[in-house]
Symmetry: C2
Subunit: 276 residues, 2 copies
Amino acid sequence: MNKKQLFENIKRKKSFLCVGLDTDIKKIPEHLKSADDPIFAFNQAIIDATADLCVAYKPNLAFYESLGVMGWTAFEKTVSYLRENYPDQFIIADAKRGDIGNTSELYARSFFCHLDLDAVTVAPYMGEDSVKPFLGYPDKWVILLGLTSNKGSHDFQLTTDANGERLFEKVMRVAQTWATDEQLMFVVGATQGKLFEDVRRIAPNNFLLVPGVGAQGGSLEEVATYGMNSECGLLVNSSRKIIYAAADETFAQAAREEALKVQYEMEHLLHKKGLL
Amino acid sequence: MNKKQLFENIKRKKSFLCVGLDTDIKKIPEHLKSADDPIFAFNQAIIDATADLCVAYKPNLAFYESLGVMGWTAFEKTVSYLRENYPDQFIIADAKRGDIGNTSELYARSFFCHLDLDAVTVAPYMGEDSVKPFLGYPDKWVILLGLTSNKGSHDFQLTTDANGERLFEKVMRVAQTWATDEQLMFVVGATQGKLFEDVRRIAPNNFLLVPGVGAQGGSLEEVATYGMNSECGLLVNSSRKIIYAAADETFAQAAREEALKVQYEMEHLLHKKGLL
């Protein structure tokens, strides 16, 4: 999917919501646990209940890998289900990969060819040759960690170098010499508040994937105020707050209601910015 | 496995070799391709041919994940095979993970409980709470990316901050406030040459996992000269040069011969340092 198509979807659905499929076998409702593939059954129900309210899904690979072969099977089935039934969804593998060139190349082939995902999250520490292999696929995206939502983001990402530039700023500046905003997004945590202004100075046109609204405490309004650009430029992710809105048989309906609340607020924010 | 046991193994085997199981379905000998599980059949033969010459194995997860469910099955079988037949081997999941706390916790549980691996490589960009969950398992190790072997290592890892400290130095210094050298190793690429002196100033006692000897061109002698400490302190990895030493039916024997050459040089270097 290209940037224009993504923005069209945002306007049509009046939403820039990404639903995080952080599906934990321990948290899914009891009645699903006897299903053939409980993880997939859960995902399928969540997707059917929320697809008209969001533009993207982000399965976090840790949740699938931690279950070994069973988890990978559920992950692949989830991606196929999305591709077949909701082809307008932007699918992000939240993998935070990044390795030497030949290894990143394997990951890229796996995510973009074998699985036909739209985007993968990538860690920047190993530099250009760890990121470049993901950029060889038209209309496929790298979402590079910029300024993350967690407390530890302060340990290294805010380190100021001898030229007065903070590490996250250097990462975002240098990465833009590797790829255009048609293939490169950045992860910026919703918990970073006013730092979104600094992010937008360095990366005015890139889409930002924004985790940290919901369970992690970030404010959607603040993110939109400081981070929204003329093409929206935001994919705001919510995982736990939506998918675990209820733990009983009403879980899918409860997830829909939570997603609807977020979509409603997003519609208001898009209007306010004059984008609808 | 604790540090003392690892050093004992090194002295007993006169080797600090780690064999990288970067098993690529495209590169394994033709005659194995009809096996039930060609990847596992290849790994099993490589392990049987080299286990007395090395102290560690490092499956690179990208190679397994890129094959989806089939790859994960081969990975799990390989780990089980090592655990059952060569319990003295230190097994490293080369995964380069690092995510917000609850996600890192899942990875840790997967690698250390479900699979009983000894160590996992972790990327430092997201800071303390992305690394800490891996440190809750006694005798299990975090191997944090410090100064990697690839060209892109220069993009961010060598950035000097306002206090004159380079990023890789800050990572190594700060990480030592999170864990002792009984649970924390660093990745330092063999291609970094004299920078090993700087690494040893910051991390005199930590084991270093050293990729980049072999196909990537690093020098084992240089690594030992600048990087070896009184407990050896090095696990030097070689992947492609050993496991793909031959592409025909002699591949396991050829791998053994390559490993033997490296072990022989390592024995000499351990003698020279007075450790044998």
